[in-house]
């Protein structure tokens, strides 16, 4: 299996998890979405909602900011964007995982090309991270008040994750806040998240963009975010840690 196959599972889709409908709480602490008459039965069975203390704390930190700037590194969801835009934020959406998947496809093509022409291409993870960062997250220093990082870091190569954190830290103003999530064990399914309200996140099973690369321990998370003043964790029963970082 080539490193590309390890990093990117092409064409693999998550099976619908068949979540029961009706707003009950399962042992993992996930509140399943109640029936939404506006949507079909299939989508109803796939959506779940979880209580998010991290989000609550994140919003609390943004209180009184007025027209703040937010960088959302997850998928562009109408609900998430509207939630912050309606509260006066200027939102920048940048789906980093999709960018990573696109980048890997380009790398694969670049490698084939290099093999055909006999050129040397540095394929170490550090070199790859360097190339990825040359084309992504090119925001000016201190341009954001808050960053939604979601669980993106779990899906990047560790070298790239390190560079992403450094870049996010640079584009965050002093006193800014980052909301990130980390899996406590390898995730069984690929999920994406969106803001349902100020206390809840919607969890949406999605087609795999790239498989999880690393499970971070607390110490490793602290090392990654060493430039931040404080770190606050909220451990959920669904093996997902929400962490808030204050710069």
């Amino acid at each position: 299996m080539s490193f590309f196959q390890k990093l990117r599972l092409v064409g693999v889709r998550n099976e619908p998890r068949g979540l029961p409908v009706g707003g009950r709480i399962n042992p993992a602490g996930v509140v399943h979405a109640a029936a939404n008459p506006a949507r079909g039965p299939e989508s109803r069975s796939q959506e779940a909602t979880r209580v998010s203390n991290g989000l609550k704390e994140f919003l609390w930190n943004l209180e009184g900011l007025g027209r703040g700037t937010l960088l959302d590194l997850g998928a562009a969801w109408q609900t998430t964007l509207s939630f912050f835009i309606e509260r006066g934020f200027r939102v920048t959406s940048d789906d980093l995982l999709r960018a990573w998947a696109d980048f890997l496809a380009q790398e694969e093509a670049r490698l084939k090309n290099a093999r055909a022409t006999g050129d040397a291409l540095d394929m170490t993870s550090e070199a790859r991270a360097e190339r990825f960062m040359n084309a992504n997250l090119r925001y000016s220093e201190g341009s954001f008040d808050a960053v939604l990082l979601w669980d993106v870091l779990d899906y990047l190569e560790p070298a790239a994750a390190k560079r992403v954190v450094a870049s996010v830290t640079d584009c965050l103003r002093p006193g800014g806040v980052v909301f990130a999530m980390f899996h406590s064990r390898k995730p069984e399914a690929f999920q994406r998240y969106r803001v349902a309200d100020s206390m809840h996140l919607q969890v949406l099973p999605a087609a795999v963009i790239c498989p999880a690369q690393k499970i971070y321990q607390n110490r490793e998370i602290q090392d990654l975010f060493i430039r931040y003043r404080t770190m606050k964790s909220f451990v959920g029963r669904d093996q997902l840690r929400e962490v808030l970082f204050l710069k």
Partner: protein
């Protein structure tokens, strides 16, 4: 009563302007002339396989399913980028609907719609924004209407840890004045 009929007959030609329907509706009481002009309201189309390099300006609706590079300014018109459309340009129109790929800044006087097949790399500035699940957006979204109206309405949930801290209310000394 007579007025109603007058209005109907006046409205006739406008409804029958869309291509193909004009002939079908000719069976009514009033005959449409064979040389009836095609409505200027019919959306212009840059279909698949056509490539345009340069600036497109106008005030009418436009459907792009081909390749466009440069600049598109439609003023009061509506711009739709079809599922096969690939546009590398700054777009400006009343409404912009993205179903294909756009690389550039999108400015709409009214609304930007990003469909599930839409892929937009660039900033959005609009009065209203609709994003369908599955759409890809990489850029800043500025929605003027909401951001100015609700700028001061941001009141998040109380801080989790401080929820338990309840300040004792001062006990009034006597009966209230009101």
């Amino acid at each position: 009563m007579w007025r109603k009929e007058d209005q109907k007959t006046q409205a006739g030609p406008e409804i029958s302007t869309s291509a193909g329907q004009a002939a079908g509706t000719a069976g009514g009481p009033r005959e449409t002339p064979a040389s009836a002009p095609v409505s200027s309201r019919a959306a212009a189309c840059i279909s698949q396989g056509i490539r345009i390099n340069g600036e497109i300006t106008g005030n009418e609706d436009l459907f792009v399913d081909g390749l466009v590079e440069g600049k598109v300014e439609l003023g009061n018109g509506s711009l739709t980028i079809g599922p096969n459309g690939k546009v590398k340009a700054d777009l400006s129109a009343r409404d912009v609907i993205v179903r294909g790929r756009v690389d550039g800044k999108v400015t709409a006087r009214d609304r930007v719609q990003l469909w599930s097949t839409g892929h937009l790399i660039g900033d959005i500035s609009a009065e209203r924004l609709a994003i369908e699940d599955g759409a890809v957006l990489r850029g800043r979204a500025e929605v003027a209407k909401h951001s100015e109206k609700h700028a001061e309405a941001f009141k998040p949930a109380p801080k989790p840890q401080e929820q338990k801290k309840v300040e004792p209310l001062p006990v009034p000394a006597g009966p209230s004045a009101d």
